[in-house]
């Protein structure tokens, strides 16, 4: 496997984790009183730092990072320009929400929900960047679906660090549901690709033929679902395992999906 896009793995996975944390913060009922508030603030700062790390990592993907501000100029047709704007907006409202949280002024819960909504919109835009005609397997809603799953899986898992053990109920439900959907999607999708054109079939074969794919199915979906089923809570090590699983999935997404040009001269 040729692996060249580590910066994109880090950027996309961490950005989606940051979005997931804000979504979970918006959904999660908090413990009354100061401890709930402090945990929310810590969660919010963590989401902001993770987003900052993600944006930093994205710079390493560019041949000329100093030109990155110019990447906003082609909003009319470039989904990449739109993605940068969308994540910029997400970061902006995230900071704004933190300021209102910090000052304990009114309106913070509205801003928290707004941040989560802008984050989800950024994921939709982001998915479009990865759905060009050159990847028949992804030239559809699959990237958006993958990115949403990452946000919900990692957001609910890491969100558990910021609520008391007794208040994990909602997060466990969201995580279990996302993992079941993720498992089904990841098991079925290569079969759908195998029933498509030559290049999509090559992608399906790459997935089913990869040890990383099967390791991910076991490590990110089967084992965590068994743990959640048995313990009904999210142990502290589980988010790390899920993060590794998501990174493995992203490596495959960026390296094992076949480009149309790979088969020039062959059947399509």
């Amino acid at each position: 496997m040729v692996f060249t896009d580590f910066s994109l793995v880090v950027f996309s996975t961490l950005a989606q984790l940051a979005v997931g944390l804000t979504v979970m913060a918006a959904l999660q009922p908090r413990a009354a009183g100061e401890s709930g508030e402090v945990k929310l603030k810590v969660e919010w700062v963590t989401a902001g730092l993770i987003l900052a790390a993600a944006l930093m990592a994205s710079m390493f993907h560019l041949g000329h990072p100093s030109g990155s501000p110019r990447a906003l100029v082609h909003l009319s047709t470039s989904w990449l320009s739109r993605e940068i704007l969308a994540f910029g907006c997400f970061g902006g409202v995230l900071v704004l929400a933190f300021l209102t949280l910090w000052k304990n002024s009114g309106g913070s819960s509205l801003l928290i929900r707004l941040t989560a909504a802008v984050g989800l919109a950024a994921l939709l835009v982001s998915g479009m960047v990865y759905a060009p005609p050159s990847f028949p397997a992804l030239n559809n809603g699959v990237p958006v679906l993958f990115f949403l799953l990452t946000a919900f899986i990692l957001g609910s898992a890491f969100g558990a660090y910021f609520v008391g053990a007794e208040r994990q109920g909602l997060l466990v439900k969201v995580l279990a549901t996302s993992l079941v959907v993720g498992l089904v999607v990841n098991l079925i999708l290569p079969s759908i690709w195998l029933s498509g054109g030559t290049v999509a079939r090559m992608t399906g074969a790459n997935f089913y033929g990869s040890w990383l794919y099967w390791l991910r199915i076991a490590g990110e979906f089967v084992v965590p679902l068994a743990v959640l089923g048995a313990w009904k809570k999210i142990p502290a090590w589980l988010p790390i395992l899920l993060l590794l699983g998501e990174a493995a999935g992203r490596i495959m997404f960026l390296n094992s999906v076949v480009h149309t040009a790979t088969n020039l001269g062959g059947l399509y």
Binding site: G63, H64, V73, S134
Partner: protein
């Protein structure tokens, strides 16, 4: 749409797979080792099941609706009004590789020394000087030809999508092919 659309004509009946076109391009632009803007692809046996081989010489297709131009976040691509040539402006490129990932024909390539994308420009400076693209000039069998305007090109016996060349009508690549013929058996 541009007033005129220039393009390439690839005659697979004349092509002998000598790579002169790809080499002429290399001589003209001195691409980094391993980087080629034009390349000669053999048709695979599933398409041309003969002992004799058939080829297609491909570079950028200067599409009517270029994906590269659409996806580039810094507007490093533009399409010339006068002939529809799709030009990549290296000084604007920030090396995000989005065009490289997105062009279904794999035309933009990554220059590892400059950390930027680059691709066939149809030798537009030569066109402006009344010359043909270097690859066309370098082809010894007239298998690769320059089409000045797709609209007035005689399409009879030609196809836009040769087997082995993926079909993307929404891009409308500016190329036409003459398919290879069955090899002739010579009996003594």
């Amino acid at each position: 749409m541009s007033k005129k659309q220039a393009g390439f004509y690839i005659d697979a009946q004349r092509c002998i797979g000598c790579y002169s076109c790809a080499m002429a391009c290399k001589n003209q632009y001195h691409q980094e080792p391993g980087v080629h803007w034009r390349y000669v692809y053999p048709l695979k046996e599933e398409i041309y099941p003969h002992r004799e081989r058939a080829w297609m010489s491909l570079a950028c297709n200067h599409c009517e609706h270029p994906t590269c131009l659409e996806v580039c976040p810094v507007e490093a691509y533009y399409k010339r009004e006068k002939d529809g040539v799709v030009v990549h402006e290296q000084e604007k490129c920030i090396g995000c590789q989005n065009c490289i990932r997105s062009c279904p024909y794999g035309a933009p390539r990554f220059n590892p020394a400059r950390h930027q994308a680059e691709k066939c420009s149809m030798c537009y400076q030569r066109l402006d000087a009344g010359l043909k693209p270097a690859c066309v000039q370098g082809c010894p069998t007239y298998a690769l030809q320059f089409i000045e305007d797709m609209a007035s090109f005689d399409q009879s016996g030609k196809v836009q999508y040769l087997a082995g060349f993926p079909r993307f009508p929404e891009l409308n690549p500016s190329v036409r092919f003459r398919p290879p013929r069955e090899p002739r058996e010579v009996r003594r």
